[in-house]
């Protein structure tokens, strides 16, 4: 199975390494060459330098053959646009897009995108942790 990870920052690089370890054929894409460092010295996957909005870059990453794509650059709107292009133009069965803004993540999720919102996750984990570790305050009636 082939996966392309667009945006190789803290999140993207970890996802790329995780997929490779799970036996996927992985190509990572990042605008910045230095992002390769995050993948570590023993990186066995592919790496393409360039912007995910650029068709030639996507095609160098052999995007058309991908079974899955993870879009995690540092821009919500860039991710949303690239994610839609991957769905509509390349017909990739699984496209997952990182969106920090909960409202935009929901807006596009309703319209059929697989959006992942780390902000939303952080909010629920924080709330849950506080609830679990602190006795429920008594509510004056």
């Amino acid at each position: 199975m082939k996966a392309v990870v667009i945006g190789c920052g803290r999140v993207g690089s970890a996802v790329a390494k995780g997929l490779l370890a799970a036996g996927w054929d992985v190509t990572a894409v990042d605008e910045n060459e230095d992002a390769l460092v995050r993948l570590g010295p023993s990186w066995k996957g592919g790496f393409v330098v360039g912007h995910g909005m650029d068709f030639t870059v996507l095609e160098r990453a052999a995007i058309a053959e991908a079974d899955a794509a993870v879009v995690s650059t540092n821009g919500d709107n860039t991710n949303l646009v690239i994610g839609q292009v991957l769905q509509k133009r390349y017909d990739i069965p699984c496209v997952v897009v990182r969106v920090l803004d909960p409202a935009r993540a929901e807006f596009y999720a309703i319209r059929g995108m697989r959006t992942v919102c780390p902000t939303e996750t952080a909010i629920s984990v924080l709330l849950e942790t506080v609830r679990e570790t602190t006795p429920v305050p008594e509510v004056a009636s």
Partner: protein, 222 residues
């Protein structure tokens, strides 16, 4: 008419000024504090500070009314695309015009259904082509939604169409010759109009059929 303008650079600020002068109601959204301060000095409460790609900001700008027109004219193509999509798909804005900063992003706008776009680079290059007659076929206007283009073709002495009546030309499907400019005058094309060297022909063609039209009128490209 109510208009929301996203992005207060040169395009957004000048559009806002003109729309206000025309008597329209406008809200201009600008994110950068320095720009916002300058715009607020000129436009007062018409300007709102915020990131127009955030749904709550757009809502404060009145996107839910909805405006008759949304101009997504920031300096960032992804932002313009997302603003247009939120306006059209989320709030039923009837007309959104998006600015394309980098012409290489045009296919993304087309693919994602944002059909009304303006790209300064493409417009300037179109004008350049218009000034180079030997190019043969010049695209004057693209009608994205209709899937048509208005083109101009310069007939040369060796063109295969010379001496042929328009009714006898096998034009590409869906295309039509509109007018001929010759000897300083424009004539509407009739079935009996005969093509002559030096004619400047205006035609309407479906997208992608420009080169077929060129072949019929001017022959294969040298």
């Amino acid at each position: 008419m109510y208009v929301v303008v996203a992005g207060g650079g040169k395009v957004g600020a000048n559009s806002t000024r003109t729309l206000l002068e025309m008597g329209h109601e406008v809200t201009l959204v600008e994110q950068r504090p320095d720009r916002f301060a300058r715009l607020e000095e000129e436009f007062g409460p018409v300007v709102m500070r915020g990131d127009a790609t955030e749904i709550s900001v757009l809502e404060r700008a009145g996107i839910a009314r909805p405006p008759e027109l949304l101009l997504a004219v920031t300096g960032d193509d992804e932002d313009n695309l997302v603003i247009s999509q939120i306006g059209k798909e989320g709030y039923g804005v009837p007309k959104a015009i998006a600015r394309v900063n980098d012409p290489r992003n045009q296919p993304h706008f087309d693919l994602l259904g944002i059909t009304q776009t303006v790209c300064a680079t493409t417009s300037i290059l179109g004008l350049v082509e218009h000034e180079v007659p030997e190019h043969g076929l010049v695209e004057l206007l693209t009608l994205q939604r209709e899937g048509l283009a208005i083109v101009e073709v310069q007939i040369e002495s060796h063109s295969p169409a010379v001496g042929t009546r328009v009714a006898g030309l096998s034009l590409p499907k869906g295309s039509r010759l509109i007018s001929v400019f010759r000897h300083g005058r424009t004539e509407l094309v009739e079935p009996g109009t005969v093509m002559r060297p030096g004619d400047q022909v205006l035609a309407v063609v479906p997208h992608g059929a420009g080169m077929d039209l060129r072949r019929v009128l001017l022959g294969a490209r040298k």
